[in-house]
């Protein structure tokens, strides 16, 4: 048990800190520190351009995708070094939102299952932020029940021909590449007939239609596949092994989204230090407020140290396990509760979402409108509880109406 740096770690931290100090886009800092939940605003500058510039700079100096092997564009750093880097990068990491899916999920999947040539060509570009990747998994009929997906891939000589539809694909509209899961055999039970691919998003026959989200932004899309032709060399893993391959993605998703996720405590704490209640006391001095703050503080630090314990497990060579599901489960509902509580404290002014008028640049209003998605994306709260119940605690699977049945014989609505 040692939360301090070893001499080696301290040297690494000093090196990272010095490099960040000399190279980070400090002019963006005021904006980044204010960055709300679900989007950044850089005072008129193009966030994507700034994000790519910072990523490229890190890449050129060997600070991108630290944990990846050097030949694929990483630094070959240890899990702990990665944590140290993240701590040092601090608010600048908010620039990297559009890379999370590529770096955290698509990259590791391609690394584990892709052909060597593609890995050497594509992964460094991904690490450098030259390419953005998206995750083409969910479908109208396959969200929680991902293996219920229907997008078809049929063999045609050396090629595959893809037809179908994906939905909720974050960033498809600005991505150059995607990883795709398809059904190649409908005559076997649903988990067995799946195969994965990677593809360019401008491949002929791919059509991307943005979806307007409930919070008014458009981060995700529908993606249609109309006779999209892919060479067999763009397959990830074996034919019919798609489920196994997708587990690599989902496992890494849990780790990259869940661990290190903030439960939102620092913002509400700051807010309560300033806000005066009806009786003239500061909110932070109110017993009822304190009780809630204490709960969120404990979740915040509990998640932080749970994440660190997961890193220690990785350092010992263990795989990111299902216990990492708790990160997003705890953070999602905390963010939502905190947003609602903050608005409540703001009284009638709580309804105002104009950043120029509302407290803390309307951070809580944005959080209110974005946080419902956190409880859904990348595994809903219910699915995460199932995972914990079944895979961590060893409880029986839910009763299934589709178990052992060929995919094309499963009843649908």
């Amino acid at each position: 048990m040692n939360f301090d740096d070893t001499p080696h770690e301290a040297a690494f931290r000093a090196e990272a800190r010095a490099w960040i100090d000399a190279n980070a886009p400090k002019h963006l800092l005021p904006h980044l520190e204010k960055a709300g939940f679900g989007g950044i605003e850089l005072g008129g500058l193009d966030p994507m351009k700034e994000a790519k510039a910072w990523q490229k700079k890190k890449y050129d100096a060997g600070w991108a995708c630290l944990h990846w092997p050097k030949e694929y564009g990483g630094r070959g750093a240890s899990p702990i070094e990665r944590v140290i880097w993240n701590q040092e990068e601090g608010p600048y990491a908010a620039l990297s939102g559009s890379f999370i899916i590529g770096h955290g999920m698509c990259g590791p999947t391609v690394m584990d299952w892709g052909p060597e040539e593609a890995k050497r060509e594509l992964l460094p570009r991904l690490a450098a932020g030259e390419d953005i990747w998206c995750q083409l998994f969910s479908e109208p009929a396959g969200g929680s029940d991902l293996a219920g997906l229907r997008t078809k891939a049929e063999r045609d000589g050396d090629d595959w021909v893809i037809n179908g539809q994906k939905i909720w694909t974050s960033g498809a509209h600005y991505s150059q590449w995607g990883i795709l899961i398809t059904r190649t055999d409908p005559d076997v039970p649903k988990h067995k007939g799946l195969t994965m691919f990677f593809l360019r998003m401008d491949t002929p026959g791919v059509r991307i239609v943005p979806i307007k989200q409930a919070n008014g932004q458009s981060g995700f899309n529908e993606v249609y596949f109309d006779n999209v032709r892919l060479p067999d060399s763009q397959r990830l893993g074996g034919v019919g092994e798609g489920w196994k391959v997708s587990l690599t993605t989902l496992m890494n998703e849990r780790l990259s989204i869940g661990s290190g996720m903030s439960a939102g405590f620092p913002d509400i704490f700051e807010f309560c230090k300033e806000l005066e209640l009806a009786d003239g006391t500061l909110a932070i001095n109110d017993r009822g407020v304190r009780s809630k703050l204490a709960e969120w503080a404990c979740r915040q630090s509990g998640l932080k140290y749970t994440g660190m314990r997961a890193i220690s497990a990785l350092s010992r060579g263990e795989n990111p396990g299902p216990e990492n599901s708790i990160g997003k489960l705890v953070a999602g509902s905390s963010l939502q509760e905190i947003a609602m509580f903050a608005l409540d404290l703001q009284g009638q002014a709580g309804a105002v979402s104009d950043p120029k008028l509302a407290a803390m640049a309307a951070k809580f209003q944005a959080q209110l409108l974005r946080s419902p998605a956190t409880r859904v994306e990348g595994g809903t709260d219910e699915i995460l509880r199932n995972i914990i119940g079944e895979r961590v605690l060893g409880l029986p699977d839910d009763m299934r109406a589709d178990k052992g049945i060929a995919f094309n014989k499963i009843p649908t609505a």
Binding site: M1, F3, V83, C298, T306, I326, L395, D398
Partner: protein
Amino acid sequence: MDFEFSAEQQQLKEQARRYLADKCPTTAVRAILEGSDPFDRALWQGLGEMGFLGAAIPEEYGGLGLGYLELCVIAEELGRALAPVPVSSSIFLVAEILKAAGSEEQKQRWLPKLASGEVIGTLASVEATGSVRPSNVALSAKAGTLTGAKSPVLDGDIADIAIVLARHAPGKDAQGLSLYLVDLNQSGIERTVLDTIDPSRSQAKIAFKDAAAELVGAAGDGWRLYEEALDRAAILTGFEQIGGADKALEMGRDYALQRFAFGRAIGSFQAIKHMLADMYVSATLARSNGYFGAYALSTGSADLAEAAATMRVSSTKAFQHCAKNNIQVHGGMGFTWAMDCHLYYRRSNLLAVSLGGLNEWEDKLIDRLRAKNAA
């Protein structure tokens, strides 16, 4: 950085678990709960002989001189087993206060006996319903004697010595408080055993009438020493709570696997599965907060006070959450005397108030986060 107990510490934990599985099955806890013995003497003696009690007491004072991390893993196992012995009073509080503030003579005299279990100590602070605060400590210290009463005092009926928070100067402020060490086996002491929610740990009212007492630490330092002692004890007790939470979760899980209703294991119903998943989440958050607490305790880190309050709130809630839902998973069986569920429920609620309730610790946590923030 390494956020895990070392291999040796894990081994010690295994050893403690095996020892307690053998010497302290729940039948032993029940024997204390139901019988007239106030605590398990044989177990107490055994814990002393094994060196568990003295794990964090220096060798020069008769302990093993291991350290806090070792005491934390032992505490977790004691909590898991619901050990009906006065470890928290005697070791987490009294030995700790003596280590921190006792004179050389006091340390030499008492620590070896506390480490072996020959002497039991307890901390007597409470005089009124509600949180202990300088304004409600009235027990008076005059010319080396104490007069007044403390109630409830955990393990107060069985303790040989007590450290007492008492007022040496009139008034209501903290500066007028000091800590005193009192031999409880003297004529000026009268004890009354109390009925409590968890009779597996006994409690008493102690009346002091001109009882001979000696100062521990400097006069006027009592409140500070008391609060610092509570912080350290919160982390050690937090490990007991984590151990109890884990065990209650496991009991619920095991029952959910084996109990069938509507033709299936009740653990296959999401209402039960998700309840158990939520118990796992609270237990995990508490454990992670605990690891940082253990680290802060073992290094005397500047974050100790914040870590203690965080862990206290987190582990109190986790144990209560797991213990109450364990009963729920067990249905009607959970409400029987014969099932062990209520033992955990009782203990979780005793520990939840034994160092001061959640509302006090939530306050401390926010105060400390604020102080750090301002620094």
